[in-house]
């Protein structure tokens, strides 16, 4: 099974790699070095400010240069050795040292931010760097990132990246032409360029001043454009594509009136420092208790095994901090996890099975509870993450309850034994792939289990799916019990009462080939 998962992860990774032509030829990815040095996109002439007649169109060179400063941002998650993409958006480099502007909804909450640079407009962007959030404002939905490492994780301090100058969004007038660059996803894998004009503005009081908070445009925008690049006729960044208003859709799938965030709001964003760092060794404010469980920011570093009922007191020290814990269950009785965080924060609780989130609790406060019936025995992870807020002085408490060990037969046994076997159809001698073999809790009969209006999985002590050769594995089977066993295959099931006796001195064993037959 593990091999299978691994193989699948490899396939998935390969599929991912296929999105990045060039990756195949150079397995060790190298950061894209911008070709000419200091490709500052200059306005045609520094003096050609409002008094001069504005240019009619962007030049071909300008468009290509803007493309280079426009990046794709991929929110990714580290999983084993692989990076799994969670979502994607666009961004704009605004300094030669690697500052990037994007939307908070693109960057905030991402475990890792991968920056993909445009090489040529005909090719998908190339994975080049990782970045961290330096400033973020959730209300304005804007964030400023800083490139920190190359794609192999080595720290970098670039000095000559292509970048765009920031314009003055208050100078925009109705009907002004604007150009949108980005990676909308729906337009394929390559950079996509659309044009339109300023269709309107909306103002609000932000930071005590009434100012433009929204620029509306008729330029086509799709979801992956989020955080991307909107430039004026001088090729200056003047806004960040943020949303699409569907009320004005014109019968097309994606499109309509686009909502842009004016660049002048970035000044306000710079008043909200984001996460100081993403690695565990953040400098904590003096006087606060160090978190005894850090670093536990990934599956590999997870704290555990956490005993059932143990209360953990720890901190979400900055907003991007994610704390991982793991524990082992030996039967499929429900798991419950509860979280209580500091007042005014919004921490969320996630249950993971090593591959993905299988349950979560995401209320608007930091009081979260998960109830979950695990489909299999073995290791599970709990992650605590912040949607908003963080504290190095007020801890959160986390309690995980699960049935550990026996639970069956009234004995507090160890972890139980492992049983393996192979399910074969007696009629054809063919292995039964994709079936589920399971043992019922002592005292539960087949009739009680299968005749119930709802199959109650908490009555299953252990279960395992058969692989394509019919092999299955049951982990953590308590000993000293006589079990009723069942096998579910397609829409059919077999169940036999008191079918398997596991003596109290039993050890891990193989049940061998189980030839079974389904009804007519």
């Amino acid at each position: 099974m593990r091999k299978v998962l691994l193989a699948f992860a490899v396939i998935a990774l390969a599929a991912l790699a296929c999105n990045v032509p060039g990756a195949a030829e150079s397995p060790a990815l190298e950061p894209v070095q911008p070709q000419p040095t200091a490709e500052v996109i200059q306005p045609p002439s520094q003096s050609s400010q409002p008094s001069d007649r504005p240019p009619d169109e962007l030049t071909v060179d300008q468009i290509e240069q803007i493309s280079r400063a426009s990046v794709q941002i991929l929110a990714v998650q580290q999983q084993g050795g692989a990076l799994r993409p969670l979502w994607s958006g666009s961004g704009t480099i605004i300094s030669p040292t690697g500052e990037i502007v994007t939307n908070c909804h693109v960057a905030c909450g991402a475990p890792l931010l991968e920056i993909l640079m445009t090489v040529t407009p005909d090719q998908p962007p190339q994975e080049s760097y990782f970045a961290e959030i330096t400033y973020a404002d959730e209300q304005l939905d804007l964030a400023i990132l800083q490139i920190t490492t190359d794609i192999n994780g080595n720290p970098v301090s670039p000095t000559n990246l292509p970048y765009l100058e920031i314009g003055d969004s208050d100078q925009l007038r109705l009907g002004d032409k604007i150009y949108i660059f980005g990676y909308p996803g729906v337009g394929g894998e390559t950079i996509t360029f659309t044009t339109g004009s300023v269709s309107g503005f909306e103002s609000a009081t932000v930071g005590g001043v009434s100012q433009r908070v929204i620029i509306k445009t008729d330029a086509a925008i799709a979801s992956g454009n989020s955080g991307g690049t909107a430039v004026d006729l001088y090729g200056r960044l003047i806004a960040i594509p943020t949303a699409v208003n569907p009320d004005v859709r014109e019968g097309v799938t994606i499109g309509g009136l686009g909502i842009l965030r004016p660049v002048n709001l970035l000044e306000i964003v710079r008043q909200h420092p984001g996460a100081p760092a993403t690695s565990g060794q953040a400098s904590l404010p003096p006087g606060s208790d160090p978190d005894p469980y850090e670093p536990n920011d990934s599956f590999e570093e997870a704290t555990g095994p956490v005993a059932s009922g143990e209360t953990i007191t720890a901190y979400i020290s900055w907003q991007d901090d994610v704390d991982f814990y793991f524990f082992e269950v030996s039967n499929t009785q429900p798991i419950s996890a509860s979280l209580s965080g500091p007042f005014g924060t919004d921490y969320d609780l996630f249950l993971l099975d090593g591959r993905q989130v299988i349950a979560s609790s995401e209320s608007t406060r930091s009081e979260e509870t998960i109830e979950f019936s695990p489909p299999r025995t073995g290791r599970y992870w709990i992650a605590v993450a912040s949607y908003s807020g963080a504290s190095t002085s007020d801890p959160y408490t986390l309690t995980i309850s699960y049935a550990s060990g026996g639970g069956a037969g009234g004995q507090a046994e160890g972890r139980g034994i492992t049983l393996t076997g192979q399910a074969v159809d007696g009629n054809s001698g063919v292995p039964l792939a994709g079936g589920t073999f399971g043992l019922l809790m002592p005292g539960v009969t087949c009739r009680q289990f299968f005749n119930a209006p709802e199959l109650d999985m908490s009555k299953v002590v252990a279960s395992g799916q058969t692989d394509k050769s019919g092999f299955f594995e049951l982990v953590g089977v308590p000993t000293g019990v006589v079990y009723s066993a069942f096998f579910i295959y397609q829409s059919n099931y077999i169940c036999e009462d008191a079918w398997l006796e596991v003596p109290s001195d039993a050890v891990d064993s193989d049940l061998g080939v189980i030839e079974m037959s389904f009804g007519r």
Binding site: V4, G185, S226, N245, N427, M457, F487, S491, S517
Partner: protein, 475 residues
């Protein structure tokens, strides 16, 4: 009198020889090694399915010497019996897996089996005798009905066995032989009973109630056998001998009873009258009433009953739902009662049809998330779909509808397809997602299943969507 004696001898002798032949067949099949490749095992299975019918039919036909039935007519009724099974099997398999399996109570299952699967099977077998031979001059003596009914039943049994072999992708020789003999014994004997009743109707001029009685008896016996055999053969230990024993007991009991009644009927009929006069009556074109038309009505009526009961039970089976009420998710909806809640949390619930078909079990997932900042449904959907494309192999969207509402809220529905793995095997998954913006949350209702069972679950999916009620969020 001659007819009686000849018939008795022929029945006993042929039955005995047939049974010996079948036992030999099973014995030989136990010695045949299981073919190594899958084509071999499939071909052998199909061959094995044909053997019992050939043995039985051959001997019975040989022994019916007093007025041998034309070979061509017997072959024709055999083939029509097989065709009937080919029509019936897909329908009854569907009823068995989709409707009857949804009821766990044994008595309910028995009653439903009798009124659906058994009734359909027996109606089709009787119909073959009725339409293929009833009107012919060859059907002129009591034993004729039994021979034709038996032939129809054996044809039916043969296709039933072949369908089974195909369903399990070939069989071990012994298991296949036993299943073939099972089916031949049961359907042969039940066919013979039907034939006896039809013969009495035609030759003795029995009435409609007699026809109905014949159909009712074979249907009930068929149902009891099917349910019993199903229970007996559903085991974690493979033992085909149980069901063979059940089939043998049933065949002997029904066969002996049939023989007893037949003999009594013959004696009564021929006690005073000459056989010749009966034959004249049977051949007469001016029958006191039209048995053909009455048979038509009986068969149509029975078929309608079977289809109505099947449809009704199907509706009841699918209609059994339970409520999922989540304050955390601020939504209430109803889901199919037999589906198991696999995961439940404050943000998502995942329901799985453990008894659904395929390796990738049909699943329903309801997810919700709080909206971040200013956004739109269109935007959110586009974002999710981009993610799907990134995460799933060969993901492709097959259709999209933007004009839906769920509980009065605007919704976007997307159908898609992608490849994944389940139990180490690649599977194609069909999915449908409905995105709903309600209050301050985005809801996603997702249904996924393998293509083979996808459409069936769609009915339940749309029922679920109709049952959705969004709740006001607690402050």
């Amino acid at each position: 009198m001659e007819e009686q004696v000849a018939f008795r001898r022929s029945v006993w002798a042929s039955s005995l020889i047939t049974l010996i032949g079948l036992a030999l067949f099973i014995g030989i099949s136990a010695l045949i090694p299981r073919p190594g490749n899958s084509t071999g095992i499939l071909l052998l299975g199909v061959f094995v399915a044909l053997v019992p019918a050939l043995i039985w039919l051959g001997f019975f036909y040989q022994q019916d010497r007093s007025e041998p039935e034309p070979k061509r007519l017997v072959a024709r009724i055999f083939i029509f019996g097989a065709l009937a099974a080919a029509v019936v099997v897909p329908l009854t398999d569907q009823i068995a897996s989709q409707t009857i399996s949804q009821f766990s109570n044994l008595i309910v299952r028995l009653v439903l089996t009798v009124f659906t699967i058994s009734l359909i099977q027996e109606v089709f077998k009787v119909a073959m005798v009725r339409y293929v031979v009833l009107g012919t001059d060859q059907f002129d003596r009591h034993p004729d009905g039994i021979v034709y009914g038996l032939a129809a039943g054996l044809g039916f049994a043969t296709v039933l066995t072949i369908a089974f072999v195909l369903r399990v992708n070939g069989v071990v020789p012994l298991a296949g032989a036993i299943r073939a003999v099972d089916n031949a014994l049961v359907h042969g004997v039940l066919g013979a009973v039907s034939g006896y009743y039809i013969g009495r109707v035609k030759i003795d001029g029995k009435k409609l109630s007699w026809m109905a009685q014949g159909l009712a008896i074979v249907t009930v016996v068929n149902g009891i056998y099917q349910v019993a055999s199903d229970e007996l053969s559903r085991s974690l230990v493979f033992n085909p001998w149980y069901s063979l024993g059940a089939a043998l007991v049933l065949a002997l009991a029904v066969g002996v009873t049939l023989f007893y009644f037949f003999r009594r009927a013959l004696r009564r009929a021929t006690g005073e009258l000459k056989t010749v006069s009966i034959q004249i009556h049977a051949r007469s074109k001016d029958m006191p009433w039209d048995i053909h038309v009455r048979y038509d009505w009986l068969l149509i009526g029975a078929l309608v009953v079977a289809l109505v009961v099947s449809a009704g039970a199907g509706v009841i089976a699918r209609g059994q739902t339970r409520a999922y009420d989540s304050a955390d998710m601020a939504v209430v909806f109803r889901y199919p009662a037999r589906w198991a809640v696999q995961t439940g949390g404050a943000a998502s619930v995942s329901l799985i049809d453990l008894l659904g078909e395929g390796t990738f079990k049909p699943s329903l997932t309801v997810m919700t998330e709080k909206l971040r900042g200013e956004t739109t449904l269109d935007f959110l959907v586009a974002e999710r779909l981009t993610n799907h494309e990134h995460q799933n192999l060969l993901y492709s969207q097959t259709s999209r509808r933007d004009d839906l509402t769920v509980d009065g809220n605007p919704a976007i529905q997307v159908e898609y397809r992608y490849a994944t793995e389940a139990s180490g095997q690649p599977v194609v998954v069909n999915g449908i997602e409905t995105y709903v913006l309600a209050g301050t949350r985005l809801y996603i209702f997702r249904y996924e299943a393998e293509p083979g069972s996808f459409e069936r679950g769609q009915v339940q999916y749309s029922q679920l969507l109709r049952s959705v009620r969004f709740q006001a969020e607690q402050p």
